[in-house]
């Protein structure tokens, strides 16, 4: 069984557990996915499974993509993503649905975080900025000193500065599955996941169990 899924983030809500406590939940429209390729250590040098998600009109894909899917009589799929898995016990054409994950399991969710553009150090690295009063109104969100003086006479590599923030691959690790609905292809995980509503996410078994 392939322990991986591609999905779309729907958004956050809350549901109640048996004790009546409200649990924050992110809902993901996950699957159905199809196994589109199996990579084997003997052939490709590593074990992985390529999954496809999101049926589209054939004209949305290039003829190369269509040919790759047509070989195994698969529908046209918009997203193809590879999952490094130890257990590649499946064959091309297999359908993967939300029921590969059970309630209570831990998963990692990979997404692309919301882009923040060119951000200053206060937003990007949670610097505290300067003081607001005593004539320092132009240093409220300033980074302060970036290094020492003549020794070393340079700024160390890796010093945190302003720059592009967000729009990067982010993994939310060890999230608990609290809802599995195979009828609506819905998966609910406790807590937040990266990315905007409608963003593509990958769901994997948690690395740190």
């Amino acid at each position: 069984m392939v322990k991986g899924l591609i999905g779309k983030k729907i958004g956050m809500t809350q549901i109640f557990d048996e004790a009546g406590v409200a649990v924050p939940v992110t809902l993901i429209e996950a699957g159905p996915c199809y196994v589109t390729q199996v990579r084997l250590p003997e052939k490709e040098g590593y074990a992985a499974v390529q999954l496809g998600f999101g049926e589209v009109a054939p004209k949305r894909l290039t003829s190369g993509e269509l040919g790759h899917l047509k070989k195994h009589a698969l529908p046209p799929l918009r997203f193809l993503r590879e999952f490094r898995l130890k257990n590649t016990d499946c064959k091309v054409g297999d359908k993967v649905t939300v029921d590969v994950f059970g309630v209570g399991e831990r998963v990692d969710v990979v997404g692309t975080s919301k882009g923040k553009g060119f951000a200053g150090v206060v937003k990007r690295y949670h610097f505290s900025g300067g003081i607001k009063t005593h004539g320092a109104s132009d240093r409220v969100r300033a980074p302060g000193a970036s290094s020492s003086t003549t020794t070393p006479g340079r700024v160390y590599k890796g010093t945190r500065r302003a720059g592009h923030m967000g729009n990067a691959r982010v993994t939310a690790q060890g999230l608990k599955v609290v809802l599995v609905d195979p009828e609506r292809n819905l998966l609910g995980v406790r807590g937040a996941i990266p990315g905007p509503k409608g963003g593509l996410v990958l769901i994997k078994e948690a690395r740190k169990q």
Partner: protein, 115 residues
């Protein structure tokens, strides 16, 4: 994409009747203390109702001792609400009765509506 405001998993608590702003209600909440479960009553006036799918809630305001106002928000979908008793309706002209916060005593009462 699936509509988030539709309910997922939980239905609105059947013990909650239709509420309106200005209603004087008594909310019975199940509270777990150690192994025991008991019911706590909270009596006051509904000052706002909020929609929003699973997050729908309502706020009840009551005046505790020494005239200190206490507001408590309850989730419409919470299974912990044992029952809600509507004791009276009031004539109100707005949806959120925040103006009651600045009032005490007789000025904080509303005209009763019979129906």
């Amino acid at each position: 994409m699936i509509d988030l405001n539709k309910n997922f998993g939980t239905e609105i608590n059947p013990n909650i009747p239709e509420l309106r702003p200005g209603d004087t209600v008594s909310v019975h909440v199940r509270i777990k203390e150690g192994g025991r479960e008991r019911i706590q009553e909270f009596k006051g006036m509904v000052i706002r109702l909020r929609k929003g799918g699973n997050n729908a809630n309502f706020t009840v305001r009551r005046t505790a001792s020494n005239g200190i106002g206490v507001e408590r928000t309850f989730l419409m979908h919470s299974p912990r609400i044992d029952k809600v008793v509507v004791e009276r309706h009031a004539r109100v002209r707005r949806a959120q009765l925040y103006f009651l916060r600045g009032r005490t005593g007789k000025r904080a009462t509303l005209k009763q509506k019979f129906d």
